[in-house]
């Protein structure tokens, strides 16, 4: 088989796979379709790997995959069948965990939650879940404490991208739980200043 023919065969198979999950009236894979996909692939639909897949596809709307996005993702993963997709997931995970991919993925995770047009902030509860999902394995202690704090404080009911990104930086740069090198005179967002203050008070 020539290369050209091989490629077009791959594209065909990818498209066919898309169609098997897509909602025909929408022309998109909708949340139901994604759930089906998940059970076929053998992961929970709240598993981080689905989010990673969405990232790979650069999916715009939460809960939906468009045909273009599907093609982008699966081509990149070199998967044209369900089996290959399954097998590609561990490698994807490894790839995402590497910096600078992870930072990009982390930002993507936040944007993915901005479901309304012109929405800039995400509510606290979603944030806590997302933090757990995305950073829970890497920074367990920080995520736990931060989630507790976020629920405790009442000043912020939503977080914006800037605050979200800075928490990632916080986990990387600040020694935990002693917080010795944290300086509130630097440009840390106020919410993190508050978090540190709250932690320090608890430790007394």
């Amino acid at each position: 088989m020539s290369i050209g023919k091989a490629i077009s065969k791959t594209v065909e198979q990818i498209d066919r796979l898309f169609d098997s999950y897509a909602n025909p009236s929408l022309g998109l894979i909708d949340p139901e379709g994604i759930e089906t996909l998940c059970s076929d692939v053998g992961v929970n639909h709240t598993d981080i790997r689905i989010l990673m897949l969405a990232w790979k596809m650069n999916a715009e709307k939460q809960g939906y995959f468009s045909k273009d996005e599907w093609r982008t993702g699966l081509k990149a993963l070199k998967a044209d069948s369900l089996n290959k997709l399954k097998k590609a997931l561990p490698a994807l995970e490894t790839q995402v965990m590497m910096p600078p991919n992870f930072q990009d993925f982390y930002a993507y995770a936040f944007r993915y939650c901005l479901t309304e047009e012109k929405q800039k902030c995400v509510d606290i509860e979603t944030i806590c879940e997302l933090l757990n999902l995305v950073l829970g394995s890497q920074f367990h202690a920080q995520v736990n404490s931060m989630s507790e704090y976020l629920k405790f404080q009442s000043e912020y009911r939503m977080l914006n991208m800037d605050q979200w990104m800075n928490f990632y930086r916080f986990c990387h740069e600040i020694s935990f739980p002693d917080l010795q090198n944290y300086d509130s005179n630097q440009a840390w967002p106020l919410i993190l200043d508050g978090f540190v203050e709250w932690m320090r008070e608890k430790q007394c």
Partner: protein, 691 residues
């Protein structure tokens, strides 16, 4: 005729005759003085011996023999006589020998002068005069310098102890130390000065250590001042001028620097005590003594600052104590006004100190400013200092205020109040309170004197800038115009009786924006009440929520309104249930049975907590001000680090208030969300302006 050759021996024999004569004269032995012929003969002998043709040109030999004369004389006559004397007598002898030597050198170099003209110049050798002095230096000075110096120093110490000494002698000896350097001060400095300074240091160190424990601070300072005066006097009389600074510094060091803290902190007589007891003269002396010493005034100014701060804090505490023991009425009471008065007096007192005792030194201006900034920003029984000051002004400027002062006294007081404003960090808060009270004074004709009102605004404008007073000035202008209008209006009515409405009508036109917004007024029925009652034109009975919807007031406002209509003195509305508090589940009915004996009644709204309102307004303005400052700074700098941005923001706003760092951070976050700013990708601490 050819000149006859003079042989060296022969010629030298002639010279020796003259030299011997010179020596005898110097020894004070009887001799006729030199005649001109004597001199010419000696000079010519040398001339001839130097201008003879070789091998009879004896310049070199004569040059050497010139020096040997001195060597010999010194060894045989001078040194022995010096060695047999001691102390003062040795010094006198030394001076005498020195004078003699100078004479000898002068005469002898005249005899041998021809050598200077050609031989010395051609061979670049030391001149005869110099040779002569060098002999004295090497043979006499080096021998006796140690003893001479010790003798001088011990005389100096004697004089310090109060004994009379021969100052002229000392001057002459010290002149030797100077002159022997032949233009350089090195010998004076190393052979005399350094030892003298060391001895002086030791002397004063001993004195200081005994005085510091026995004497009070003022007494010690008097002694120190006297010592310094005496040492300067010493220099002018017999030490070399170049020693003055070093000596003074040495004495200052031992007396004033070493023991500075012990001196200043003496419990009953030290700096703090002097301030407490208003010992102006002693403090002036302290200033004089320490102001020339590097960093000498720092501890003094620190103690001054602490003292003033403590005095100020005591006044504040006093006012707080009295105010809390009385029942609070929610406003500013008498005690707080008294406090402002007392703070003004405190300021006057210590400004005088800075001017008189401390001669306007910037260190003390700074200390005073910092002290006042501490206690002038303390609140008293819930009122901020900004509010106190505004109330104080109101009291002076309104009719029937508690202070009865003459015009000059008022002007003076207002001037001082404006000066105090400089110490208050929340200047914008003062402006708001002042504006509210000014409005009330103007609208209800409670202002005592328009000139004073204008005068204080001018002063505030000078101190804080035009923006600070622009609204207030607008208010005053409005009133002036309004009065003119009213007069014209009344005249018009008078001239046109057909248009006269038959009512007394006074109208005051106000420019929006200058004036604070009002809820309460002295009309017999406030606006919202009228609106509320009008609702009952269309319904007999309304619920709380219905009224809420129709009137579009806040809960706070509506509750107050309904309370005064249904729970106060005049029950214009009946409330169901008939309790004293307004709940959102209540219902209201028009009270058709309402009557009263009086035709006109006042149903006042309970006053809003004005203070809270003012603070809220000011906080809101501050948020805008911080935003504006941040944008302004970033627009011009484009890229800036976080700390620097905060710093510049604080500086820009400092004229009006001290911004809270947290507030600045919050505004920055808001600006990031609104896409005015973004963080730099590589350094999260740096911000970039997004056009």
């Amino acid at each position: 005729m050819e000149r006859k050759i003079i042989e060296l021996d022969q010629g030298w024999a002639y010279m020796l005759k003259g030299i011997t004569k010179l020596k005898r004269i110097l020894e004070g032995l009887t001799e006729d003085p030199f005649s001109s012929e004597d001199y010419i003969f000696l000079y010519t002998t040398i001339y001839n011996m130097c201008t003879q043709k070789p091998p009879h040109d004896y310049s070199q030999q004569l040059y050497d023999m010139y020096r040997e004369v001195f060597d010999e004389y010194i060894a045989s006559m001078v040194l022995p006589s010096l060695k047999e004397k001691h102390d003062e007598f040795m010094l006198s002898e030394l001076v005498q020998r020195w004078l003699n030597h100078k004479v000898m050198v002068r005469w002898q170099s005249r005899f041998f002068h021809y050598l200077d003209r050609y031989f010395v110049a051609r061979r670049s050798l030391p001149a005869l005069y110099e040779v002569g002095l060098t002999c004295f230096r090497d043979l006499v000075y080096q021998e006796v310098k140690a003893n001479a110096r010790d003798a001088v120093i011990s005389l100096i110490d004697k004089e310090r102890e109060g004994e009379q000494i021969d100052r002229a002698l000392l001057k002459n000896v010290i002149d030797i130390f100077v002159a022997i350097g032949m233009g350089q001060m090195e010998l004076y400095e190393q052979d005399f000065e350094v030892h003298m300074l060391q001895d002086s240091g030791a002397y004063y160190s001993r004195k200081a250590s005994s005085w510091i424990s026995d004497d009070s601070c003022p007494d010690y300072m008097l002694k120190a001042e006297e010592c310094l005066k005496r040492e300067r006097d010493r220099v002018s009389h017999y030490l070399h001028i170049s020693s003055e600074q070093k000596l003074v510094e040495k004495v200052q060091h031992e007396l004033l620097v070493v023991y500075e803290m012990q001196l200043l902190e003496k419990e009953y007589s030290g700096c703090r005590a002097l301030l407490r007891d208003d010992k102006v003269e002693d403090l002036s002396r302290m200033y004089r003594l320490y102001h020339k010493i590097p960093k000498g005034l720092d501890p003094v100014s620190t103690i001054f600052k602490q003292h003033v701060t403590a005095e100020g804090m005591a006044l504040v505490q006093q006012a707080e104590d009295v105010a809390s023991s009385q029942t609070a009425n929610g406003g500013v009471g008498m005690q707080e006004l008294v406090l402002v008065r007392k703070i003004i007096e405190l300021h006057d007192k210590y400004v005088a100190y800075v001017n008189d005792c401390f001669l306007n030194h910037s260190l003390f201006h700074k200390a005073l400013k910092e002290a006042f900034e501490v206690f002038c920003n303390k609140a008293v029984s819930g009122s901020s200092s900004a509010e106190l000051l505004a109330t104080f002004c109101d009291n002076i400027l309104k009719k029937g205020g508690s202070e009865k002062l003459s015009d000059e006294a008022i002007e003076e007081t207002l001037e001082k109040v404006v000066k105090l404003l400089a110490y208050i960090s929340d200047k914008d808060l003062f402006a708001e309170f002042y504006r509210k009270k000014l409005a009330r004074r103007l609208l209800f004709d409670r202002s005592a004197n328009e000139d004073h009102e204008k005068s204080i605004l001018t002063k505030l404008k000078q101190q804080c800038g035009a923006q600070f007073t622009s609204k207030m000035e607008g208010m005053v202008t409005d009133l002036t115009l309004a009065r003119e209008n009213q007069n014209s209006f009344e005249e018009y009515l008078h001239n046109n009786t057909n248009v006269n409405p038959g009512l007394d009508l006074t109208v005051t036109v106000l420019t929006t924006g200058f004036w604070p917004s009002y809820k309460s007024c002295d009309l017999s029925l406030p606006q919202e009440m009228a609106a509320a009652l009008l609702l009952f034109n269309n319904a007999d009975r309304l619920s709380y929520s219905e009224m809420m919807t129709q009137l579009n007031l806040t809960h706070d406002d509506l509750v107050r309104l309904l309370h005064s209509l249904s729970c106060a003195k005049y029950k214009i509305l009946n409330k169901e249930p008939n309790t004293k508090t307004i709940l959102q589940t209540d219902n209201f009915e028009f009270n058709s049975k309402f009557t009263d004996r009086m035709r006109r009644i006042k149903v006042p709204l309970p006053p809003v907590d004005e203070r809270k309102r003012v603070i809220e307004d000011v906080d809101k303005d501050r948020r805008y001000a911080i935003d504006a400052a941040l944008v302004r700074i970033m627009k011009s700098r484009k890229v800036l680090g976080h700390q620097q941005l905060v710093m510049e923001c604080v500086e820009q706003l400092g004229r009006m208030f001290k911004p809270d760092i947290k507030a600045i951070k919050k505004r920055m976050e808001d600006l990031i969300t609104r896409d005015y700013l973004e963080r730099d990708k590589d350094n999260q601490n740096i911000f970039k302006y997004l056009a």
